[in-house]
């Protein structure tokens, strides 16, 4: 086992949390489940003047809240959106967000937003650009900030380093925390023919503040980060490795499509406990393989529309009488 350095940049281990989704509002308010903490999608609340924000305020009185965004676009060459940052800051203060996170990606340029987490080339230019912007973001937010490795589906020929090198140097230079999405490591590594364990081993573990877990869809030729199902065994194995290397950090399950009843979600993240202790006997206490294999996705790719798309952002349907 690798030596564990003083971890998490001094931030607390909040335990096992789940992503707050509006379909569970009533259940959570009614039953006050024994969940360690909640993560919100920041964009669903920063502008809310209605029930979503009201529910969040109530939950923030009882549970630790972490804000997870999808629109910072830290890698974009467009200017930072200071109106958005200001709103993040206001909401973070309101709910006492333990930290704020987003992704190492860009979402659009020339004023447009694709609402996707688009990949950056891994170059010195990207590194300088992202670090400079991270410093500004942290100065504005005045709250701990952590950045997540996204799932990606392409790499660029002009990249001059591996993703883990860019992330590691970025975190050191900008002095920020990392959100290690274990499922994203698995998805990207499969898509780019890389070794997910090597990726996790290469990171600065003392800077990892949070883990994400999620399900994905296997299209045989590639994986897509759909957040629509159970965490598969190989991802749990990576989680166990990450847990050993970091000494354990706040862990959160994301489930964003085909969302099951809340207890299913909660049970899923509680499985993480099995991977925190001593190494388990091979094959014991594991779930059946649940990697939802699709038919070969190749023939779908060049035609319009896939059946499932990654959903970084949610629509909260209105309640109407």
């Amino acid at each position: 086992m690798t030596a564990v350095t003083a971890g998490r940049l001094g931030h607390p281990n909040l335990g096992l949390g789940v992503g707050l989704r509006s379909v569970h509002f009533d259940h959570i308010l009614r039953t006050q489940p024994d969940v360690d903490w909640f993560e919100i999608i920041s964009e669903n609340y920063v502008d809310s003047g209605g029930r979503p924000r009201y529910v969040l305020q109530q939950l923030a009185e009882r549970y630790p809240i972490v804000m997870h965004g999808v629109s910072l676009s830290i890698g974009s060459t467009d200017p930072l959106d200071f109106e958005y940052l200001k709103k993040l800051k206001v909401l973070a203060r309101e709910v006492n967000a333990r930290w704020i996170s987003d992704h190492l990606c860009w979402t659009g340029v020339l004023g447009r937003n694709t609402h996707d987490l688009l990949p950056v080339p891994f170059t010195e230019q990207t590194l300088r650009h992202v670090v400079e912007r991270l410093r500004i973001v942290q100065d504005v937010l005045e709250r701990p900030f952590v950045l997540e490795n996204p799932s990606s589906y392409v790499t660029f020929t002009r990249s001059t380093m591996e993703e883990h090198e860019l992330i590691s140097r970025m975190a050191e230079d900008a002095d920020c925390g990392l959100l290690l999405d274990v499922n994203n490591v698995y998805v990207s590594s499969f898509n780019h023919d890389l070794d997910p364990e090597a990726f996790i081993r290469a990171l600065p573990h003392e800077r990892i503040v949070q883990f994400h877990l999620a399900g994905h869809t296997n299209y045989v030729t590639h994986l897509i980060d759909t957040h629509d199902g159970h965490v598969i065994d190989p991802v749990w194995d990576l989680y166990r490795l990450a847990h050993e290397l970091t000494g354990g950090v706040s862990t959160l399950l994301e489930w964003d499509a085909r969302i099951p009843p809340f207890p299913v979600l909660h049970d899923e993240v509680l499985k993480a406990k099995r991977f925190m202790g001593e190494r388990l006997a091979p094959g014991s206490e594991k779930d059946d393989k649940d990697d939802r294999d699709s038919k070969d996705g190749r023939e779908d790719l060049l035609s319009a529309g896939g059946s499932l798309v990654p959903h970084p952002l949610h629509h909260i349907p209105p309640e109407v009488e």
């Binding site: 964009e43 502008d47 809310s48 003047g49 209605g50 029930r51 979503p52 009201y54 629109s71 974009s76 060459t77 959106d81 958005y84 860009w106 659009g108 340029v109 020339l110 004023g111 447009r112 937003n113 694709t114 609402h115 996707d116 688009l118 950056v120 080339p121 170059t123 230019q125 990207t126 650009h129 589906y153 392409v154 790499t155 660029f156 020929t157 002009r158 898509n191 780019h192 023919d193 045989v220 030729t221 590639h222 897509i224 190749r298 779908d300 790719l301 060049l302 319009a304 529309g305 896939g306 798309v309 990654p310 952002l313 629509h315 909260i316 349907p317 209105p318 309640e319 109407v320 009488e321």
Partner: protein, 300 residues
């Protein structure tokens, strides 16, 4: 530029966006002038920019982003206008939304604004004139967008609102000269088709049950939010005129005059008129239409 030169981060991002958001797909996107201006590629040269994997070509890998872009945003637009999507059917709706996203791509950090110009777009393009009901589509889109905005916009939950008792104690002449402050979430809409009734019918329809498109008819509606739930009220023409005047800042007397101007209200006897107005204000205050009342002396 030729691919052997190293494009800047800015050029790569502009190129990538042009390619994966092109309505014709990745190959057309890469061949389009917008992308070629940034990175000049001959056919088959995509892999000088994006690596292939063991299983997929560069074009196939880029197509994951291209497919996701359109699929995600079409789904989001549909979620913003669920009743309109039901009315049109998914394919026809997606056709309109596909055109809309090309004309008005998202420029906001939030998807909540994605459908902001969709009613306007429908008005500009007047789709389906052969079906004779573009006004129906436009009105229904306006209704659904208003419902969404009222649901998550500013509200008055937890605040004291004007009650009927507050009005009861006022001398009639003082009430007539007063101005009513509507709640911040009150919206008044005038439709050319009864889309509010249609909206209700679709929501209450059994699965698979088709709700017929209604014939044109004026429908006037008030929308507000109470206890975090959006409420809808059908209004008569004088009620709508009265409330519109109130929202515009007129005094109660001026608002009543506006209502009379669009109806035969002033043909009523004084007692009948007073009874009608009292019933309206009793209902509106009970439903939380007004925040407060400003008389010449002091706000209530």
């Amino acid at each position: 530029m030729k691919p052997h030169a190293t494009p800047s981060l800015d050029a790569v991002q502009q190129w990538f966006q042009a390619v994966v958001t092109h309505p014709g797909g990745v190959a057309e996107g890469a061949a389009d002038e917008a992308a070629q201006r940034l990175i000049r590629l001959d056919r088959g040269e995509l892999e000088t920019i994006v690596r292939r994997s063991r299983r997929l070509t560069a074009e196939e890998r880029l197509s994951i982003y291209a497919n996701a872009y359109w699929a995600r945003l079409l789904e989001c637009i549909g979620d913003c206008f669920p009743v309109l999507r039901t009315a049109l059917g998914e394919d026809v709706f997606d056709g309109f939304a596909f055109e809309y996203l090309q004309r008005y791509p998202s420029r906001s950090y939030t998807l909540d604004r994605l459908g902001e110009r969709f009613p306007q777009f429908l008005d500009e393009t007047r789709p389906s004139p052969e079906l004779g009901w573009p006004d129906f589509l436009i009105d229904l889109a306006r209704l659904e967008w208003t419902v969404a905005k009222v649901f998550d916009g500013p509200g008055v939950e937890g605040r004291k609102l004007l009650t009927h008792d507050d009005l009861q104690g006022l001398p009639p002449e003082r009430f007539a000269g007063s101005r009513l402050a509507p709640v911040v979430c009150l919206r008044l809409l005038a439709f050319r088709y009864p889309v509010n009734a249609y909206y209700t019918a679709v929501r209450h329809a059994a699965e698979g049950e088709e709700v017929p498109i209604p014939a044109p008819a004026e429908e006037l509606v008030a929308i507000l939010r109470r206890d975090f739930v959006v409420r809808r009220y059908t209004l008569s023409r004088p009620q709508h005129a009265l409330l519109e005047s109130v929202v515009a800042g007129a005094s109660v007397a001026e608002a009543i005059a506006a209502a009379a101007a669009v109806s035969d209200l002033d043909a009523l006897s004084d007692d009948a008129l007073a009874a009608a107005l009292q019933a309206w204000f009793r209902f509106w205050t009970a439903e939380g239409f007004f925040q407060s009342l400003e008389s010449r002396r002091r706000p209530i």
